[in-house]
Subunit: 515 residues, 2 copies
Amino acid sequence: MTADPMQTTEATTAVADLRQHLATINDLHGASAVLGWDERTKMPPGGTDVRSERLATLGRLAHEMFVSEGTARLLEDAERDLPGLSDDSDDAALIRYARRKFDRSQAISPDLMAESIRASTQGYAVWIKARQDDDFQAFLPALERIVEVNRRFIDAFRAVQPDAEEDYDLLLEEFEPGITSQEIAEAFSALRDRTIPLVDQVRDNASRVDDARLHGSFPVEAQEHLSKVVLDRLGFDANHWRLDETHHPFASPMATTDIRITTRYMPDFFNAALFGSMHEFGHGLYERQVSPTLERTPLARGTSMAWHESQSRMWENLVGRGRPFWDWAIGPVSDAFPDAFGDQTAEDMYRAVNKLQPSLIRVEADELTYNLHIILRFELEREILAGTVALKDLSDAWNQRMHDYLGIEVPNDADGVLQDVHWSSGLFGYFPTYALGNVLSLQLWDRITNEIPGLDDNIRAGEFAPLRAWLAEHVHCHGSKYLPKDLMERVLGTRKLDPGPLADYLERKVDTLYG
Amino acid sequence: MTADPMQTTEATTAVADLRQHLATINDLHGASAVLGWDERTKMPPGGTDVRSERLATLGRLAHEMFVSEGTARLLEDAERDLPGLSDDSDDAALIRYARRKFDRSQAISPDLMAESIRASTQGYAVWIKARQDDDFQAFLPALERIVEVNRRFIDAFRAVQPDAEEDYDLLLEEFEPGITSQEIAEAFSALRDRTIPLVDQVRDNASRVDDARLHGSFPVEAQEHLSKVVLDRLGFDANHWRLDETHHPFASPMATTDIRITTRYMPDFFNAALFGSMHEFGHGLYERQVSPTLERTPLARGTSMAWHESQSRMWENLVGRGRPFWDWAIGPVSDAFPDAFGDQTAEDMYRAVNKLQPSLIRVEADELTYNLHIILRFELEREILAGTVALKDLSDAWNQRMHDYLGIEVPNDADGVLQDVHWSSGLFGYFPTYALGNVLSLQLWDRITNEIPGLDDNIRAGEFAPLRAWLAEHVHCHGSKYLPKDLMERVLGTRKLDPGPLADYLERKVDTLYG
């Protein structure tokens, strides 16, 4: 990790006061993280109702403390000292970050916030039932209310960002600050147009990759052991990490020194736990390697959803589904499952775990088709907010695009337009970050493979320290000090999202496996 | 559980506002409970520093919210409605409780609170080293500072309770509200005078009970399985409870619906995990059976330390070390450890787990001698505060009393006056509650065995529902609605601590085993 610029700049009293105030708020968020992790991994089910109240209280207090007059005053005082601070200092970054968040939070009235929570809570409950009943019509009124609330958010945010080109940009800002719908659309169009022919090629040559061995009997204890062996090698250390089981895997930092990742063991399918663990490891490592000087500040997190996803997908796919990895992993994997894999070569495993196949459900999609699932969601969100697709026609639009992009006929809305939780929970602008993470991971990977010439050999030998160190120095240590685009410029020398490396990579992979 | 009187009294707006305010504070305490449990059972060690900050922030915010002008106002408003409330209603109890706690909290200045935290933090660190070095002199200055802080607390509390008979009473009030040093001294003297001859009798007939089988090889997995089998039978249900491993076992409720107990598995000694689990189950059950109408109020806890300990000791000793229990437990215990216990009878096990033997260390003491360890600590605390023993003479006074009461020669201060953490952490007035719990558990047990005539048969059959139900109805459901003495009056028909039943019980046990 690089020496931190903060060390060279004396913190002013005003900044120290702001920092202290934000540390208190950060402690409330950190407490919420523990309660949330506990709820999803350890809590007896009977504890749900009270836990919801605890979390609501912590969230409310943190919000009230942040949007208070006190914060406004501390921020103004600290900003007066900004000219004396280096742009790259922790303190300057903290002031910039707090100002941006404060102005956006201030823009939302308590009434709108309350209406948003009501709409999402109700929307979620309605969605659960609508999906069970395969009844998009039943979900429609809740969705209309959610879109209406999002429009009110847009109106409020426009006061803070009057020059936003497009309404949708004002929602994207929450997840990927500084990015525009237009540039995502350009990147996604190019990616889509290069991916669709690859999907056709895979479909026409499906028999060339056989993954039958990955389906069978995989005792949970052996999977757990294997996950730990692999994670230990990647850089999981028990002094600062935990791995637990859960239904919907996630990573969550309690602090940069206390990283919790989770996975899920499917007794009849090999991939889920191993690749899930590696994915969450990527998220966890990002938070683990944030500079200790940022601890207990809001900067002690990854800078955006796409940057975060670039890290998880890098470890899951660029490492875990790469050919060099299997030269190392074949050992522990065949030790763990001698019946299934004892006679398999690294090449066999590499091919099997890379099987590509268009399918209906996003969360089960492979590396190639995943982005198309996302692109269609992004396109629909953008069209909804632009008013060019009516909500009542959303199911048809969805099904049409699944046909056009993936060649998939959607049999019902439950597995179509109703499959994901996001819209029901009020989240618009979140979906695109998944595929942006993939785009970014390849832009990064090109840079990394240039800068670590022996990387493939390292990985073949199960040696991941050089990759971790590169990521720590160039990306992780900064936490949220830089906005996503500014971090791109620092690390990649460009502010431009370029889907080229990802498309090239996918072409190479399809060529290798299905050519 | 009985129908709650609150249902018959319309809550006023003022009371509802107070309740809401206290619920927010309760959520902060509940969050602290989760963070504390996590720290002691799951947290990677590297997370310690940040966790301390999180807990300090939650504690500080909860304290600030409680001692605020806002609480004062809400409390005054609610008190105006008190005449309209039934004395037994939840609301009246909540107002009384909040008033008592508020006045005591208000009495402590922020300066004194800060000095107390500093003295305890420093005291703890000094004690750790002094105990390692077996150096009481090194601990003496820290102890003097702690006693001085306690004297300042006494002065502050006297403003709230001007008629307290004795300084020490004002510290006892924190743990056992309403009790006096004088009545504890009377109960303890009587108990001490009846216990010492029993200790002599045990010492003279030590060979009559053999517990060699309890020391051996007890694989942790089998112990864990056995603890779960026994706890499930006692009333542990996975929907609302968890059992985890830790170094220093404890019970902690996250809510009445989410009870966490912990235990510790010693691979070479049978008793620790099983009886430890039953002990913590007793604490947990008390919180689990508090009326749901008290959830998220400060009343949703056991009413005092002694009442709590009466419950843990009841399940550990009166159930677990009772003869009827072993008629049931011999099955699961010999299943778990066929080599050690396969040829043992219920009677063999009963005798072995009841071996009595004077020893040096309180936390390892048996049922008979434990109270003497406590009584000598109580006497010393009282004498320190009365100025009749000087701190510099504490080690000598300790050793003399260990000789007089237990016939034990203390070989060094590390295992003598320095053995317990309490004084180093500033806790005076806490120790006596351990033995008071034992006194109370027997007063209760006499009542219970009268009211559940088939209790022994129930226990022999591994049937604990009647005991649980009795405790729920008469004790647990009330949480902290009644002060300890008021609860005694309700349940036992007396406000008097009576060591007679405990002494009778110990005499019977000694007679059975060593007579």
